[in-house]
């Protein structure tokens, strides 16, 4: 991967409060540490919690715009499946990967009966029809297993690294995780990283 690498376009999608922006910053800081250039474009709504959030991470040698063009994301990393689908349909490249958490965060529109939540199978189907690859792990359970449900983002980062999709060394990424989470949660976050890393090897 490292040899002919020139650019990686990654979207980290989720719901406000899940930590997708933190995760995207971790990837970007690690990329800078490893000598690359980085851009992160954050898109989120007005709400503190509960809105759709997507971070566009671009790393490589020559990057200008903060947002990824449509059909140009090699990877969509989703902390929530519906947000994975939302971003995959618009941005995932043919042959790209949707790596998603399995646990849904119900939109209020679904709760009041004004919309339906798509099943994981339907999401998988749609992504595969688009020529994409679909991989899902139960990151929420793994985060709980790691001792802190707020480490879903780091579980997913671990999975992303485990899938061999980042042009960044595992050591650098772990180090940046350590430096960018609250000190009291370092152990839980490192456990979360390992759990995500291992889960992807088994899936």
């Amino acid at each position: 991967m490292k040899g002919k690498f020139s650019e990686l376009n990654l979207i980290i999608g989720g719901v406000g409060g899940q930590g997708s922006i933190r995760a995207s910053h971790i990837v970007a800081i690690a990329a800078i540490q490893d000598g690359m250039r980085a851009r992160v474009g954050e898109t989120f709504g007005a709400a503190m919690r509960g809105g759709a959030v997507a971070s566009h991470v671009r790393i490589g040698k020559e990057i200008f715009a903060p947002l990824i063009a449509k059909d140009r994301a090699e990877i969509v990393l989703a902390l929530e499946p519906l947000e994975g689908l939302r971003n995959a349909v618009k941005f995932l490249s043919k042959g790209g990967l949707l790596l998603t958490n399995t646990r849904a965060w119900m939109p209020v529109d679904v709760n009041i009966g004004r919309a339906e939540y798509p099943s994981l199978d339907a999401i998988k189907n749609a992504v595969e029809k688009l020529g994409g690859k679909f991989v899902a792990i139960d990151a929420t359970s793994l985060a709980q297993q790691a001792g802190n449900v707020r480490t879903i983002n780091v579980v997913m980062l671990g999975a992303l690294v485990g899938a061999g999709k980042l042009p960044i060394s595992v050591e650098t990424l772990k180090q940046i995780v350590k430096e960018n989470v609250p000190p009291k949660t370092i152990d839980a976050n490192l456990r979360a990283f390992e759990l995500g890393f291992n889960a992807i090897q088994q899936s």
Binding site: R39, V40, G41, P66, A69, P107, D109, V110, V181, P182
Partner: protein, 653 residues
């Protein structure tokens, strides 16, 4: 955790770090030795002052959250009048608040560098309009700098102080959401220590400099202002952010300003047009580097102007082309080559450019059809208040009180803050325009359908008075606002209501923080921007001082007493204020002042009536005909227990 506060003040020239555009602007000000910074929170610009407030105690300068943008502007301007470097930052709409002082301060200008950093919001992601504040630079006859990325945001901010001192005028730094809230690798520069001693001379270089009425008076000072900008005409031609790339004899050119230049470069790359089109990157939309523009216009046959917002550069190029080369074909937002509303991006610019240079973009039509099909699977995700938010209680109580005492068609006037989500509606629902000639009552299925009007900070409490003075009789007249909005913009309107004998209910949802923009402190919090303790100001004290006689304070977690207080206020024959006070749940959790309860949703007792769903808490879910809760989202505030008519929701133990 490497403390961000340490990174931002590290004097390590050449070091590359990841900074958000707003942080880069703050760093630029730090490198320039800023001594006073003042702002009012507003997305997408809030992190500028947040970052400066982290650095201020360590570097020994002053940073404050002012009560509103106008005061912030004046605080910074006052500092600049004493010769120190000062910055004020705000969102697009914030600039509307400062225009009075802005338009007058320029009649005589400043002594120390004064930077006005504004975060515009094309696409209105977080704003009530898409206004382009670059126009204000023309209005006030001051220079405007517009960065293309976070690195430029830092360099330009630093340079803006120097330029300001050279012209003795404020300088506008215009950023947009995709710069403010985009991060990038930024190379740090050297930090100048903020150690100027403030001085004052009322006749410094011009008699009565800081007193616009003092002789020579406003007209002479207006003349002085006209003479300033022409002084930098030559200078802007050589600034590193204005750059012409012209090789050979291309027939097509792009003039791109600010972030537009970043998108245009991506488009050129995507279409393989490197070195085949002329490229003029603009970093100063005013004054434009006219010589560079002239070289471009005299070389090519057609030009695409790319910029974020209104056609500010395009209009000027049109004017210049008349003298420089009337034959050149100009394309942009005015010609429909680029969309005139919303934001642009790489795709939009690539398509526009491909069309103009007659390149075919690869199309995968079958895949587009599959995408359209997949799109139908995607449920909307309407914005909601947070689980356990006190505003949910306030809105529930308001709905119940209006049902009892609000008349046929009550009007609820909204305002700006988290509670404005009470007017966002439901994305998954269709709303049809009406044509009735009488008042129409619309159902409220969720708290997100409560607000009938909503415009700007402090607007609601003024609008409600107009509805009363017009003689509206079809229902109650209500206004809602938060604590920070109350201090920012509502006080004169409250005074006005008492003075002019307006009636109505003003519900102040006081959660003690400026929550929506990221939990900044305000006069209700008891803390300053840098975390120092300060006096807590109470909404009710100010309301009473303004002459309001009916003032009631309630806890919105107690739905019954809140409902009763609003109902009583609706029946009052005076202008009435109800303060619904409960600290923001997110902040209470962060400060360990909140202990959640364990909730039980009893499926046997649940009749599936969905009343709890209409409470609007995102922690409550509805599945297979029964209500339940999401154990991760729910924080156990327990307020929903009061909503359930069948006792199916309980607190454990």
């Amino acid at each position: 955790m490497t403390k961000f506060a340490d990174i931002i003040i590290e004097d390590a020239p050449g070091k590359r770090v990841l900074l958000m555009g707003n942080e880069a602007i703050a760093r630029g000000a730090i490198e320039a030795g800023v001594q006073v910074a003042a702002s009012y929170p507003g997305t997408p610009a809030s992190e500028i002052l947040e970052t400066l407030a982290l650095a201020a105690p360590k570097l020994g300068f002053h940073a404050e959250w002012s009560v509103n943008e106008k005061v912030a502007f004046e605080v910074a301007a006052g500092a600049a009048l004493t010769g120190v470097r000062a910055l004020t930052s705000m969102k697009n709409a914030g600039l509307n608040w400062v225009m009075d002082m802005f338009m007058t301060l320029v009649y005589g200008g400043v002594r120390g560098g004064f930077v006005i950093a504004v975060g515009d919001d094309p696409d209105a992601h977080y704003s009530s309009n898409e206004q382009d504040t670059r126009f204000a630079a023309f209005y006030g006859e001051i220079p405007c700098l517009e960065p293309a990325d976070p690195q430029e945001a830092k360099e330009m901010t630093r340079y803006a102080f120097e330029l300001s001192e050279r012209l003795e005028l404020p300088v506008l730094l215009r950023s947009v959401t995709r710069i403010c809230h985009a991060s990038g690798d930024v190379e740090l520069g050297k930090i100048e220590k903020p150690e100027r001693t403030p001085v004052f001379d009322r006749h410094w270089k011009m008699p009565w400099r800081g007193n616009v009425y003092g002789p020579p008076g406003p007209v002479e000072k207006h003349g002085w202002l006209h003479g300033q900008m022409p002084q930098i005409k030559k200078l802007v031609e050589t600034l590193p952010w204005n750059k012409l790339e012209l090789r050979g004899k291309p027939t097509f050119g792009i003039i791109a300003s600010g972030l537009g230049a970043s998108y245009a470069r991506e488009a050129i790359k995507a279409l393989g047009l490197e070195n085949k089109v002329a490229f003029l990157k603009i970093g100063t939309p005013t004054p434009l580097p006219e010589k560079l523009v002239e070289r471009m216009l005299k070389t090519v046959k057609s030009v695409l102007v790319v910029e974020e917002g209104e056609p500010v550069v395009e209009l000027q190029i049109r004017g210049l082309a008349k003298d420089m080369n009337p034959e050149v074909k100009l394309l942009g937002k005015l010609t429909g080559a680029l969309p005139s509303v919303g934001e642009i991006n790489t795709d939009v610019v690539t398509h526009a450019l491909a069309k103009l240079v007659k390149r075919k973009l690869p199309q995968d039509q079958p895949r587009e059809l599959i995408k359209a099909e997949a799109q139908r699977l995607i449920a909307p995700r309407s914005s909601t208040l947070c689980a356990g938010c006190p505003h949910l209680g306030s809105y529930w109580a308001l709905k119940q009180a209006l049902r009892k005492a609000g008349g046929d068609v009550p009007i609820v006037n909204g305002d700006i803050g988290c509670y404005e989500q009470g007017g966002y509606g439901m994305v998954g629902k269709e709303y049809k325009p009406g044509s009735a000639n009488e008042s129409v009552r619309h159902p409220i299925e969720s708290p997100y359908e409560t607000l009938d009007t909503n415009y700007i900070m402090g607007g609601g409490v003024g609008l409600m008075q107009g509805q009363f003075q017009a003689g509206y009789k079809d229902g109650a007249i209500v206004g809602v606002a938060g604590d920070s909005t109350f201090f920012h913009a509502c006080i004169p309107a409250v005074l006005n209501a008492v003075y002019n004998k307006a009636k109505g209910v003003f519900l102040v949802m006081d959660n003690s923080w400026t929550a929506m923009t990221g939990h900044q402190p305000n006069p209700a919090t008891g803390k300053t921007a840098t975390g120092e303790e300060t006096k807590v100001l109470l909404v009710e004290d100010i309301a009473r001082a303004c002459g309001v006689e009916h003032v009631k304070i309630v806890d919105p977690f107690d739905l019954k007493s809140t409902t009763e207080a609003i109902e009583e206020a609706l029946k009052s024959d005076k202008f009435a204020i109800v303060v619904a006070r409960h600290v923001c749940t997110l902040q209470a959790q962060r400060m360990k002042q909140f202990v959640g309860k364990r909730m039980i949703f009893d499926r046997d007792k649940c009749t599936g009536c969905k009343i709890c769903v209409t409470f609007g808490c995102p922690g409550i879910i509805f599945k297979e005909g029964k209500a339940g809760f999401d154990p991760i989202l729910c924080n156990g505030c327990g307020v929903c227990v009061q909503v359930c008519p069948t006792g199916a929701i309980r607190v454990e133990g």
